[in-house]
């Protein structure tokens, strides 16, 4: 487990680096706000409504499909590490698993979940 302690140090150091750079920037930079400067940028036009409105459902579809496939990948990793120990049986099992995965993949393709036009 001792390998994780340096990683924790590294993450802290990286976060510290970001905080130092940001802190220096806050101290050194000027601060002269006005309403024009702080308005939302929209190519020089007065902003029309808020940005936080509905957006395309396709992004949700991608997120859902990502979760499904990512879980499949999580199953593949332990199998790949133990590939030599599992031998032919493990290989056939995994081919069957990937074929089931591909059946679902072709289903979503036919459903048009990945059509972006």
């Amino acid at each position: 487990m001792s390998g994780y302690i340096p990683i924790f140090f590294m993450i802290s150091a990286a976060a510290g680096l970001g905080l130092i750079l940001y802190g220096l920037f806050k101290v050194l930079g000027p601060y002269r706000p006005n309403t024009e400067k702080q308005s939302t940028y929209e190519s020089g036009m007065t902003p029309v409504r808020s940005a936080r409105e509905r957006f395309s459902v396709k992004y949700y579809m991608v997120a859902v499909l990502f979760i499904l496939f990512d879980i499949e990948i999580v199953f593949l990793y332990p199998w790949a590490v133990n590939f030599h120990a599992l031998g032919l049986f493990g290989y056939v099992e995994m081919v069957v698993f990937i074929l089931i995965l591909l059946a679902g993949y072709f289903y979503i393709l036919k459903k048009g979940a990945l059509q972006w036009d």
């Binding site: 390998g3 150091a13 930079g29 940028y41 997120a63 995994m94 591909l102 393709l109």
Partner: protein
């Protein structure tokens, strides 16, 4: 946990951070010089000889700019997002081995910061965390361009993360381990005694899909849709100024270095210097040669990243998504099946 252990870790972290930051500074200059060369211009040449101090002048300038936060933005998240980006980008390097273990004064020094047995999983986890910085900055700015950039970034990065994760599985199957130094040591073997058994030779398809996925994960052209200038102004960092923008910039280049280092480790033999063990060299010379080999390989890949950026046009968004879902994932899955077949029956 002894004092020596902590000191060793801190020294390595300090070295890696300093080298990474210096490389980022010169990488920006190199990118500007290479793009200038490709576009028949001169590039920066006023600050110092050949413009060598240009990046440092730019960093200095960024400190003295005003921090403009739009009044409609969520101020806390607006500040948090670049900090997440830089933290993730800088700390992914922690598990990458940059040299072989070498014995000195009766103590074995591992030339990597965190020697964990889940190296690859750590890298994948950190690259997924990188999405947060970009998506949160897009949402917090409350700007339409930023929001679109953030949405695109999240959809693109999670799509390509799948093919990235699938391509690595071939490497894991060959090495039988998730530990990066074991993967590198495995690549020190030779095929028929002459060809180094680097994974680029054993896994050509996996290498190509991983390389493409790395371009998409680092948001580099031809996959830089999240910040496509002609349509989205600056994309997710439209509303950022001064060093907060600089942090995103730093993170992008640091990600490039990490991505190159990971590709070198997984597919190009890591710190392996082919045939070096066949000559009777002192241990220190071998270690230095291997670290040099690692640095040269990373530098060549970084050069490749830049040449691609300045020669290939940007994808359209639907092309990008269909490439990720309809080409990369089936290819990577097929690669797993073929690799398994060869490993069992060769």
């Amino acid at each position: 946990m002894s004092v020596e252990f902590i000191v060793e870790a801190l020294v390595k972290i300090g070295l890696v951070l300093v080298i990474n930051l210096t490389t980022v500074a010169y990488l920006v200059l190199a990118e500007r010089k290479i793009s200038a060369f490709i576009q028949n211009r001169l590039g920066p040449n006023r600050v110092g000889p050949w413009g060598l101090f240009q990046s440092f002048a730019d960093i200095g300038k960024l400190f003295f700019k005003e921090d403009i936060v739009p009044s409609a933005a969520n101020k806390f998240v607006h500040t948090l997002a670049p900090l997440i980006s830089i933290t993730v980008a800088m700390s992914t390097f922690a598990v990458v081995p940059f040299g072989n273990t070498f014995a000195f004064n009766g103590h074995d020094y591992k030339l990597m910061i965190g020697d964990v047995n889940i190296g690859i999983l750590f890298i994948l986890a950190m690259t997924s965390l990188g999405v947060y910085g970009i998506t949160l900055s897009g949402w917090a700015s409350n700007n339409k361009y930023s929001l679109l950039g953030g949405l695109r970034a999240s959809a693109q990065m999670i799509s390509y993360e799948l093919s990235m994760g699938l391509s690595v599985i071939g490497v894991v199957m060959i090495a039988g381990s998730l530990q990066l130094d074991k993967i590198v040591i495995k690549q020190g073997e030779y095929l028929w005694g002459v060809i180094p058994a680097w994974n680029i030779v054993l896994q050509p398809i996996g290498f190509i899909t991983f390389l493409i996925a790395s371009f998409a994960e680092t948001n580099r052209l031809p996959f830089d849709l999240p910040e496509a200038e002609p349509e989205l102004v600056g994309g997710y960092h439209t509303e950022y100024s001064g060093m907060k923008f600089g942090l995103f910039f730093l993170a992008e280049y640091a990600n490039m270095i990490t991505a190159s280092a990971v590709i070198v480790t997984l597919y190009l033999g890591g710190w392996q210097f082919p045939f070096v063990e066949r000559f009777a060299l002192p241990a220190l010379a071998v270690t230095l040669l291997q670290m040099g080999a690692f640095a040269v390989k990373v530098a060549l890949l970084l050069f490749f990243f830049m040449v691609v950026r300045w020669t290939i046009p940007r994808f359209r968004y639907d092309q990008l998504m269909s490439l990720g879902w309809k080409v990369m994932i089936p290819l990577a899955l097929g690669n797993i099946i073929v690799t398994g077949f060869f490993l069992l029956f060769h």
